[in-house]
């Protein structure tokens, strides 16, 4: 049943199809082309929500995305979405919507009692009412307010839909598909320019769909569809509907949200729900039209009170009327269009109240021809009716009040340019006395506003300016664009007198209906001194929320101006920031969720590790084998002990490809390396590798690794896995910015080489079998820190005799694509030697046993001295970090420096992050002496060990201190002994054998 659907006639709905939907569980019907709002109005549903603070019944105010009242929860379950505006929700069969802010039901609401308590909900109530006692805020006030005043409920289930991102580039971006935007796109498109036109509606045409216009003798909607067809035929023009350009960003970049499947019950297979666009445009035509303003009077929030242009849209486009007796309250010529459209649709208009004392003769004549009751110089004081308008009180020009029956009221307060995008980059709008509103001021470079968005409210002006802007954009992009004659349209009256609010109303008069901000609230804020636009917003909440005051801010400012004897322009404006309308977090995240949240880099031996039943750990972007547990080996410690012992007594293999590898070549490579490493590298002979540390220019250690001299003028650096990218950036800076005169080139080869550590006393035996003489690995020919490049099985290979584990060890590098084959070959060659694959756990344990450094120690606050590497800092040359590393504060003897710790009671566990305290000292910042940086259970020693940074460092070896950890629950405090950080083979004999 659709009591308010008008009889047959044009419009943009397809009556032959019936769509069924529910609102608050009740079943209704509508047609394709309807919005949820138009279908509810057609069904005679007036109350669609309850207000935020007072829980007053609210109806539909607008027909667009600026809607403050008609917010509903759409869909159910995991797809439930709160705060969707019924005015832009496209109707589909099976749609389910729920009203918000009502309990127990929409028409009987418990919270409406708040209305009686309105004195405590006055402006600034957040700051005043709930100040005392402080404990009450969390326990009493906040939960109560949250329950009473919410804006919908988010679904707590994971979103089952996908969201994607897209990029586009164009000569001209047209924002808005009304007459101005269509004219701009057509002019530029015909010239051959790349044009993107975006409209948030699902139907192109803008006001041409809501108003009755003639263009070149055809209906406005018809003209719009004809232009749309021509635009679709132009290969360089892309027209998008259901897309909101929500933000303007630096560099002519725009953010836009396309609602790909919001108009469907569920997205089709492989279809995203929404698509986030990043559009880069040489030129932009802002043709976003204008927003109609209300007039504030008593009971102006009652269901049935609607903006006059919205009434026209419902009548002309959706063939729906908000009421059968619809009064009109206007202060401008535009409101009269609503009067005549209603009458032509055979809707009764009991009275037209025009606040102006004089109106154009043409309007007056037409009114008298139709026998209308017109009250000039009059104002509506109050609208009455508990569940919607039933009557209005009008004060005539002589001050007498009379009551007139009406079941709906159209309000026309004039138009404000919709120029939010013009202010996103800091532009300030300017006040126009001609239209009593702000027009775009200094626009971002390349943007031009036309039509309603520029404050030009005539159709002829919109078409003319749009076409001119389109031509200009095409010419700027280098296209020949001959001017074309504009289409013929009728003149129209666009006069407007300002009327922002009506003084003397008896009922509550709402300036911002979404936040229940009344005239009284604004008056209180004004009295208390909150008189600028920004302060008013924060103090009263006027202009906050999902609509950001699109239909309320200017009225509020005008009210403050009137109360303080100023002009509305004196208040300034609120800077509009992106997004223009709400954007779901899901759309901003796009595909970057779950496993795709960040890239995952796999090592060359990943598949092999999987086949061995490895467990994995994500370190930065890398996924690395953590351990290789044998079947039935459920305790991580057993696996760790087996892998470490396997290496220390036999031989093990580990993928170390994730270490950064930087190739350095050129005649000046040695000089260059001397300047970026703290120790000398130029003296390194070909065929040798050397451990090195790099400092930042401020003297702090940046990274460590090895430098291998592969051939004259050819070095290969390794970096930590975590810093591979940063080190290259740092080196490129040194090469390009600091010393461009050096003849040296850099290239990252991390991805190009797979590298395996083969470690343990039997590693040499394994490599002899594997390499079969491709390189002599005997101790004499290939001693500790030797390196070589050679051919192995017809492919290049590299061998380094370096060790992280502390055992006799080698690292073998092969081209990445041969990594998998190589690790399998290593396993085969070592099979009867008992070769064990080992992962990050064993690697980490062995490096702590050897006192080697990792990220926990190279943490961006430690100096070479702190880490026991002070003697590496060359005094013979200049290098990055040399001078500032000598600052007194970085050389102070009490700085925390690297030491080892072991528990005094050997069965105790140490936790990483525990802070050092002297025995007997109270835990406090003043008594803090450093912290434990790395810990492990040592299979070699049979107890827990750790590395740490302790005030005074190695001077305190032999002392006992406390390791205090208040965060880990269990082991709060352990007494530890300070020891040499090299727990295992401190003389390094095993490396060199």
């Amino acid at each position: 049943m659709s009591p308010n659907r008008l009889g047959e006639g044009e419009g943009a709905i397809r009556r032959e199809r019936i769509l069924s939907f529910t609102f608050d569980g009740k079943r209704y019907t509508g047609h394709p082309g309807d919005t949820l709002a138009s279908a509810l109005l057609a069904a005679g549903v007036r109350v669609v929500g309850r207000s935020f603070k007072y829980h007053r019944p609210r109806g539909i105010l607008t027909a667009g995305s600026e809607e403050p009242n008609a917010l509903v929860e759409l869909r159910t379950g995991a797809r439930r979405e709160p705060n969707t505006r019924a005015t832009v929700v496209e109707l589909f069969d099976g749609l389910e919507a729920l009203s918000q802010n009502r309990w127990p039901s929409l028409l009987v609401d418990f919270g409406a009692i708040n209305s009686l308590l309105s004195p405590i909900f006055i402006a600034g109530f957040y700051y005043k009412t709930f100040m005392w006692p402080a404990a009450f805020w969390e326990k009493v006030y906040e939960p109560a307010i949250r329950r009473a005043a919410g804006l919908g409920r988010a679904s707590l289930e994971a979103d089952p839909d996908t969201y994607e991102k897209a990029h586009a580039f164009c000569d001209l971006l047209v924002v808005g598909g009304g007459p101005a935007g269509l004219a701009a796109a057509l002019a530029a498109g015909r010239a051959g320019a790349r044009v993107i036109l975006c409209d948030e509606d699902f139907l192109l045409g803008g006001r041409l769909n809501g108003d009755r216009h003639e263009i070149d003798g055809k209906g406005g909607g018809h003209w719009a569809r004809q232009i749309a067809e021509e635009l679709a035929s132009l290969p360089e023009v892309r027209v998008m509907t259901r897309i909101t350009v929500f933000g303007a960003y630096d560099g002519n970049t725009f953010g836009a949200l396309e609602r790909v499947a919001d108009h469907l019950p569920v997205p089709a297979a492989h279809q995203p729900r929404q698509r986030l666009w990043k559009i880069v445009a040489r030129r932009t035509v802002l043709a976003a039209g204008a927003l109609e303003r209300p007039i504030v009077f008593g009971g102006n929030d009652r269901p049935g009170v609607m903006l006059a242009s919205a009434v026209r849209t419902y009548v002309n486009r959706f063939r729906v009327t908000p009421g059968r007796r619809t009064a009109v309250f206007t202060t401008c010529d535009d409101g009269w269009k609503t009067v005549f459209d209603l009458l032509d649709a055979r809707v009764d208009v009991p009275v037209v109240v025009d606040a102006r004392r004089e109106i154009p003769a043409a309007l007056a004549n037409e009114a008298s021809r139709r026998g209308l009751r017109v009250m000039l110089g009059a104002q509506i004081l109050d609208a009455h009716g508990a569940k919607g308008v039933g009557a209005i009180d009008v004060r005539d020009e002589r001050g007498r009040t009379l009551r007139i029956a009406a079941d709906a009221l159209a309000v026309a307060g004039g138009w404000s340019p919709n120029a939010a995008l013009s202010t996103h980059l800091g532009g300030r709008p300017q006040w126009s006395d001609a239209i009593h509103a702000h027009v775009p001021g200094d626009l971002p470079r390349g943007m031009i506003a036309v039509g309603g968005a520029a404050g030009d409210f005539s159709l002829a002006g919109a078409l003319r300016a749009g076409a001119a802007a389109g031509l200009e954009a095409a010419r700027a992009a280098g296209f020949e664009a001959p001017a074309q004659s504009p289409p013929r349209v009728d003149d129209e009256a666009v006069g407007c007198a300002p009327l922002w609010f009506v003084a003397g109303a008896r009922g509550k008069a709402f300036v911002d209906p979404q936040h229940d901000v009344t005239i009284k609230d604004v008056a209180v804020a004004t009295r208390e001194g909150f008189q600028s636009a920004e302060l008013l917003k924060r103090y009263t909440t006027l202009g906050m929320g999902t609509d950001q005051g699109k239909t309320s801010a200017l009225n509020g400012h005008a009210l403050v101006a009137a109360l303080t004897g100023r002009a509305p322009s004196d208040l300034g404006t609120i800077a509009s920031r992106p997004p223009y309308t709400p954007v779901a977090i899901g759309a901003l995240a796009g595909m970057h969720r779950g496993a795709a949240f960040k890239p995952c880099r796999l090592t060359p031996s990943h598949r092999w590790a999987q086949s061995r039943g490895a467990t994995f750990v994500d370190l930065g972007e890398w996924r690395r084998a953590k351990a290789f547990p044998l079947e039935g080996e459920r305790d991580w410690k057993r696996t760790l002990v087996r892998e470490v012992r396997g290496v220390r007594t036999g031989v093990g293999v580990c993928d170390v490809s994730t270490l950064g590898k930087i190739d350095v070549q050129g005649p000046d490579a040695g000089i260059f390396l001397d300047r970026v490493y703290a120790n000398v590298m130029s003296s390194l002979p070909v065929g040798k590798a050397r451990y090195g540390i790099m400092l930042r220019e401020d003297g702090i250690v940046f990274d460590d690794g090895t430098v291998a001299h592969l051939a004259p003028g050819h070095f290969l650096l390794s970096t930590t896995s975590a810093h591979a990218v940063k080190v290259l950036q740092h080196l490129e800076h040194a090469r390009q910015v600091l010393w461009p005169e050096l003849d040296v080139q850099l290239a990252s080869v991390t991805e190009q080489w797979a590298q395996f550590a083969v470690a343990g006393p039997r590693s040499r035996a394994l490599l002899e079998r594997l390499l079969r003489g491709a390189v002599d690995v005997s101790n004499a020919a290939f001693p500790y820190v030797a390196c070589a490049e050679f051919q192995w099985q017809g492919r290049p290979a590299r061998l380094f005799r370096i060790s992280f584990s502390g055992e006799l060890a080698y690292e073998l590098a092969v081209p990445s694509t041969w990594g998998d084959a190589t690790v399998r070959a290593i396993m085969t060659a070592g099979e009867d030697l008992g070769v064990v694959p080992y992962g990050m756990e064993a690697l980490g344990t062995m490096r702590i046993e050897k006192g080697h450094l990792a990220g926990a120690e190279l943490n961006g606050t430690t100096t070479a001295h702190d880490l026991g590497l002070g003697r590496m800092m060359s005094v013979q040359k200049d290098y990055i970090g040399r001078v500032l590393a000598g600052r007194p504060g970085l050389c102070a003897p009490d700085r925390p420096a690297l030491i080892g710790v072991k528990p005094s009671r050997l069965d105790a566990k140490i936790t990483a992050g525990a802070h050092f305290l002297r025995i007997g000292a109270r835990p406090s910042l003043a008594n803090d002496e450093g912290f434990v940086s790395s810990v492990t259970f040592s299979p070699t020693l049979g107890h827990w060990i750790g590395l740490g940074l302790l005030s005074g460092g190695p001077k305190r070896i032999g002392e006992r201190v406390r390791a205090h950890d208040p965060l880990s629950g269990g082991d709060v405090e352990v007494e530890v002994e300070v020891v040499n950080p090299v727990f295992y083979d401190p003389d390094g004999k095993r490396l060199r054998d």
Partner: protein, 89 residues
């Protein structure tokens, strides 16, 4: 923002890493008052409101260090050159 890399063309700012004031000059090792000069070079940088010469690194592109003149008030990119070339050239 969009930065026009001399090698790669106009690219989105997300491809670049920012360092800061391009006026940084590393003091020569033999200069007087080295500690003070390094302190000034490392910590005291220009931060004007308006046109500013800055170093940007095309991290997701050609790995060039660029000398970019950017208006810090408006984010307008006024000029882009390679950092290997002397400032102003």
């Amino acid at each position: 923002m969009r930065i026009e890399c001399p090698f790669c063309g106009e690219r989105d700012v997300s491809e670049f890493a920012y360092l800061g004031d391009a006026g940084y000059r590393r003091p020569p090792a033999d200069s007087q008052g080295l500690a003070e000069r390094f302190y000034e070079a490392v910590y005291l940088r220009e931060n004007p409101a308006g046109p500013h010469q800055e170093l940007w690194y095309h991290a997701a592109g050609c790995l060039s260090w660029l000398r970019v003149t950017r208006n810090t008030r408006t984010h307008e990119i006024i000029a882009v050159g390679l950092a290997t070339q002397a400032p102003g050239s």
